[in-house]
């Protein structure tokens, strides 16, 4: 593993992962998390609730980007796991779990259910995987709506949280969301920096070539699929805790994919920082235009198309290309010893041996 000092290669190249900027921004990230932790003491319950929503968006965007931007798996059905997380929480609280424990367990259960799901779905590629996942989400939604103890199709409330006073409940939910977001993002961050991160990007760029180089394609995809499902499951459980009421049609609805697609495309597909930025932008847009009805969604869809066509690595990708700014490094930075940093490849970053071949 490269640390801040990096390694010097033949021909006067120097490879490093942590540049001075990224060390600084890494420290700033830790400071930001620490600041967020005291938000419930500083602001009212409504600010805390809004920030909970924002953090849930961040989790969803990062998970969808991990699948699409790093694994090349565009899923139109991640709401399958959002719904499982939410309804799993309801089910577990009905069977004696305390609500907050139930949320975590339900998220993990969603991840566990993703494992057998992946056996069928990862046989598919591209568009077939995309719609195949949509069918999976529909199936889970129908199965849940057939169970009358889960409220059937009419929706159900989360009981058990009323033992806490509203202000405390909002604070607890926020803290749990913050912990989950930090752990999940940290997990994805570490995962992408390991060998499997490079394997996945190779698979995304050319599956057959990656397989011929000895990458275990299915295993790499499966790890990512299960992690993304767990993240979406926990996000679904947290969404339930934040709204206290869910319906199958909305929680298993494809609008979640529209949100995730928008956040990731605008922020930056295949960059680590981009989806976080995209979630903030989406949150602000929703706060501003969320009441404008259908035109709001027309705008979301049209913006997503424009970004996919004209700025495929999103806002963060454009920043990264111009300023060579990488705040949370998943890839590596290549410098010649007497010149400023050269960024190998596009925004996703590449392992150092790829550059050795070229030098």
């Amino acid at each position: 593993m490269m640390r801040s000092r990096g390694a010097t290669l033949q021909g006067g190249f120097h490879v490093q992962r942590w540049t001075r900027v990224s060390v600084g921004s890494g420290a700033a990230t830790i400071a930001l998390v620490a600041f967020l932790a005291i938000v419930p003491f500083l602001f009212g319950a409504d600010v805390t609730q809004q920030l909970t929503t924002l953090l849930i968006f961040v989790i969803l965007a990062v998970m969808w980007n991990a699948l699409a931007g790093y694994g090349g798996l565009i899923s139109v059905g991640q709401q399958a796991f959002i719904g499982l997380g939410a309804y799993g929480t309801i089910f577990l609280t009905q069977h004696g779990f305390t609500p907050y424990l139930a949320m975590i367990v339900a998220g993990l259960v969603a991840g566990a259910i993703a494992l057998p799901t992946s056996l069928i779905m990862l046989r598919l590629r591209g568009g077939q995987f995309a719609i195949g996942m949509w069918v999976v989400a529909e199936v889970f939604g129908i199965l849940v709506s057939l169970d009358s103890s889960l409220g059937g199709g009419t929706g159900i409330s989360l009981n058990g949280l009323d033992q806490y006073a509203p202000g405390y409940r909002q604070a607890y939910t926020f803290w749990l969301t913050l912990v989950c977001a930090t752990v999940l993002l940290g997990l994805v961050f570490l995962l992408l920096r390991r060998r499997i991160g490079a394997s996945l990007q190779a698979v995304r760029d050319d599956e057959d070539a990656a397989a011929s180089l000895g990458v275990n394609v299915v295993r790499s995809k499966r790890v990512l699929f299960v992690v993304a499902a767990t993240g979406c499951g926990i996000a679904g459980a947290l969404y339930l805790a934040n709204t206290l009421f869910i319906q199958t049609t909305s929680v298993f609805g494809v609008q979640w994919t529209a949100y995730m697609l928008f956040m990731v495309l605008v922020g930056g597909l295949g960059t680590f920082e981009g989806p976080i930025l995209g979630a903030v932008i989406f949150y602000l847009i929703q706060a501003q235009f969320g009441d404008s009805g259908a035109w709001y969604f027309v705008g979301l869809g049209a913006t997503a198309i424009a970004f996919a066509l004209f700025l495929p690595n999103g806002i963060w990708g454009a920043i990264d290309r111009r300023l060579r700014l990488r705040l949370l490094p998943v890839g590596y930075t290549l410098r010649t010893l007497d010149a400023p940093a050269v960024r190998p490849g596009h925004a996703a970053g590449r392992p150092p041996h790829a550059m050795e071949d070229q030098s």
């Binding site: 699409a68 999976v136 529909e138 599956e207 035109w295």
Partner: protein
């Protein structure tokens, strides 16, 4: 005897799904693109016919004859404005842009036509209610028969077009190897645009039948896309008759599920689809069909 009847209704329903599906299958076969807005395009066809019929009280048949060429041209526009560039950007971009298109279409329909539910069923005379009952209790509805026959005609027409005409041969050549096709003087761009136009027009035709046989609203599209996709996958990608078979299997599964419990209709279709996917054969088909 009821089970034979169920089977028959399922087969007729399958004709409708095949009609919905063949455009999706054509675009995938020629361009390796799965159009996630396919179902919404079908619903646009339904809305346009409904609008014409309601505004001018013309017959639905005449309205369809006006709408289908319009959708054909819209297909060219979709290719030139959206798919051409998406295709060049890589295999994943068409998925992102067609999903974006789906969101745009659904919400424009919602804004323009409100979320009200509509149907063309009352505008088609006796077509929706007429049926023939045979001695054994077998019932064949006129609409189901017309839909099925239309599907067979469209599929056969597509098959003949692909195998017998120069334009169709160009399309098959481009599907197999676009670079080699261009070397022998085929304009791949024109071929792709033509395939999109055919797919969009046929999808609209499917949408018109949807509007006659049941109700539609702005959010109907995604479900139609899923059914169409299931029919294509069950039948195995690529062949028109496979699509018909896939549609029939899906239709029978849904009618069978409905017979057991009305809530099971769609679920049974999904389960058959997943079963086909998880069978070894389904896996082979999925791998062979390559990247979308």
């Amino acid at each position: 005897m009821t089970w034979v009847n169920v089977l028959l209704q399922g087969v007729l329903l399958g004709g409708f799904y095949a009609l919905l599906a063949c455009g999706l299958s054509l675009m995938f076969g020629v361009m390796r693109i799965i159009n996630l807005a396919h179902g919404d395009i079908a619903v646009v066809g339904a809305y346009l016919v409904w609008f014409l019929v309601n505004q001018t009280s013309m017959s639905p048949l005449l309205a369809a004859l006006i709408v289908l060429p319009v959708m054909w041209i819209a297909g060219y526009a979709i290719y030139i404005l959206l798919l051409e560039r998406s295709r060049r950007e890589g295999v994943l971009v068409p998925l992102l842009t067609t999903f974006g298109l789906a969101i745009v279409i659904e919400n424009v329909l919602l804004q323009v036509f409100s979320p009200d539910v509509h149907s063309l069923g009352s505008n088609t005379g006796g077509l929706t209610t007429a049926s023939v009952t045979f001695a054994g209790g077998l019932t064949i509805s006129a609409l189901g028969t017309v839909t099925f026959v239309t599907a067979v005609i469209v599929l056969a027409g597509l098959q003949l077009y692909l195998s017998r005409t120069n334009s169709g041969r160009e399309m098959r050549a481009t599907a197999q190897d676009p670079d080699a096709a261009q070397l022998v003087g085929i304009n791949a761009r024109a071929v792709y645009a033509r395939a999109t136009a055919i797919a969009v027009a046929v999808a609209a035709l499917g949408g018109i039948f949807l509007a006659i046989r049941s109700t539609f609203d702005p959010s109907t599209g995604p479900t139609q896309l899923i059914f169409a996709f299931e029919a294509v996958v069950i039948g195995g990608f690529g062949s028109p008759w496979g699509t018909l078979l896939g549609g029939v299997v899906l239709g029978v599964a849904q009618v069978l599920g409905e017979q057991i419990n009305p809530q099971y209709a769609i679920l049974f279709g999904h389960l058959v689809f997943l079963a086909v996917l998880s069978s070894p054969r389904g896996g082979i088909l999925a791998r062979r069909s390559g990247e979308a």
